[in-house]
């Protein structure tokens, strides 16, 4: 039992280490300097700083300025955050206030809960 737990812990740490190495390419599409846009920009910057320090590439694009990008990137809702890398591609719409959802969607949940008791985690294969 004990070895199993330690094995799982090792695997988890390894995965976390790999994740650490991965760079995140993020694009945030906003529509002008609205309150919601500003909130979204602020929220995502905070998340990135807290969880992806030094390994993210965030670009904020105002589609009012570049409407053709809206078509190319299939933007409908605003604000929209697109996680281009790592794959799979994901879209987050809204003012980025739901941090939990974003972390889950970005596969950062495990990294965020690194300090949590490993026992409960390791039981799940």
């Amino acid at each position: 039992m004990k070895t199993k737990i330690s094995q799982a812990q090792a695997a988890l740490e390894k995965a976390a280490a790999q994740q650490q190495a991965q760079r995140y390419v993020l694009r945030l599409y906003i529509t002008g300097m609205t309150r919601r846009s500003m909130q979204a920009v602020g929220n995502i910057r905070k998340i990135c700083e807290e969880h992806l320090e030094g390994r993210y590439d965030l670009e904020v694009i105002d589609i009012h300025q570049q409407p053709t990008l809206a078509e190319g990137e299939q933007i409908i809702a605003a604000p929209t955050l697109i996680k281009k890398l790592p794959l799979p591609l994901r879209r987050f719409i809204g003012d980025m206030s739901n941090t939990e959802r974003i972390l889950l969607g970005m596969d950062l949940r495990k990294a965020a809960e690194k300090g949590a008791p490993v026992g409960t985690d390791s039981k799940q294969p």
Binding site: T31, R36, P67, L81, F92, D95, M96, S97, I102
Partner: protein
Amino acid sequence: MQTQSPAKKLTGIAKCPTGIRGLDEITDGGLPKGRPTLICGAAGCGKTLLATEFIVRGASEFNEPGVFMAFEETGKELADNVASLGFDLASLIRHKKVVVDHVRIERSEIEETGEYDLEGLFIRLGAAIDGIGAKRVVLDSIEELFAGLPNQAIVRSELRRLFLWLKDKGVTAVITGEQGEKTLTRHGLEEYISDCVIFLDHRVNNQIATRRLRIVKYRGSAHGTNEYPTLIDQQGLSVLPISSLGLNYPVSTERVSSGISRLDAMLGGKGYFKGSSILISGTAGSGKTSIASAFANSVCQRGGRCLYWSSEESPGQIVRDMASIGFDLDRHVRKNLLRFHSIRPTLYGLENHLVVLHKMVTEFRPDALIMDPITNLTAVGNDEEIKGMLTRVIDFLKNEGITAIFTSLTAGGTILEQSEVGVSSLMDAWLLLSMVQSASERNRVLYLLKSRGMDHSNQMREFVLTGNGIELVDVYAGLGTVYTGAARLSQKARDEADALERRQTEERRQRDLDMERRSLQAQLDALQTRLANITAEQELGLSLEKQRDDAGQRAESQMARARKAD
């Protein structure tokens, strides 16, 4: 169709013509200009096609560029779909007349993380509209947003904003929506779009599918309220305003030959009226097609065009069969004067037949139309429906001034003077063909049951199909009987023999009388001679007597002188 009141003409809303055949007619000019219109219906009813035609025709026929926002199909798919209908969407896109923006919403890759709006959609649409100066917009189908975005409340409020925004932009928009369980659209789009709602229907009745279109509402405009049959074919969608025509068509006093000179003679010497409807009814094999073909042939020979709708035989078969009685129809087909449309009635519903016919007539512009036979339509409708359909056909043809011949098969054992589908009252002339059965043969007899507005023959004619066409022969109408065919011939021979005998008898009698006359004359001559002799003798006798008397007196006086009497 409702008639427009004069007040409407003054203040009526501006219309945006769709270019779709028939739709502009029933909407009195098109969709409301600068307002959104909802097109709803079940899957496969032709919503996307109608929307596409609206954009393509707008760009190509009315010089109104358009934006097609496709939520379901990509631009390429859309172009391929409509290419089969003859629309070159790709070319219109190249010439900046049309923009197709494919909006892809992948529910699985979207996470909601708080408040948002659909400004992205607005910006895309706005950029597309401004990019080409679009006057028309299609959103097909905007309901995808409900499926793609989890927060329905946001979608609803944003849609409301979108439609207002479209109105502000002054573009004429077409929004499509899937039919719901009990509502017009699944997500109640009709709540937002109230200017014009068009409902498309595709229903199957008796295994035959018919498409129909109905204008559910149209604010500020008169519109047809019926369900109109629609058709999707090589030229796209067409809607047929089946009951918009009134009984005020122009009439002509011009006459057209029936192609059979004796028949023309029966029809007041000149033939049918131009633009009239003629019914030819008769039993099987009585020669309905032949008489109809004679007319077709005659029309084409004069350089006119004829459309031949056949529900029984293929064009090849008709051409071959008619060649055997001396009608070279193939020549007219090659010259594009004669066009056949052979179709099984069961291929589609009655209304679709009507739409197809309507379309072909509009396209080919024939001078004459032949429907051979109309009775086959019973396969797809009851008598009432067929009568309704034919009424529309006849009204339409009369309006166009097209002479039409309808043939009707009378089933064996029914009353001859009763057309199968009860359409005789709609017809201007009715030729009845029947078979007269005698000892060992059946012969064709033709007569005119009615012919409105002309002096026509009430005589029966036997009609004979020969290698050089149709000949009408006087039937032998003897004492209470009518002879046709061989019976007619034998009766004729009998008559001739009788006549010869009568002639010979008479001649003989004449000869006898002549001889008698001559013998009497001879007797008369002899008697006269005798009379003359007797007279001569009498005269001679008298003169001798006188001479004798004179001589006696002379002798007496001489004697006296000699006797010296005193």
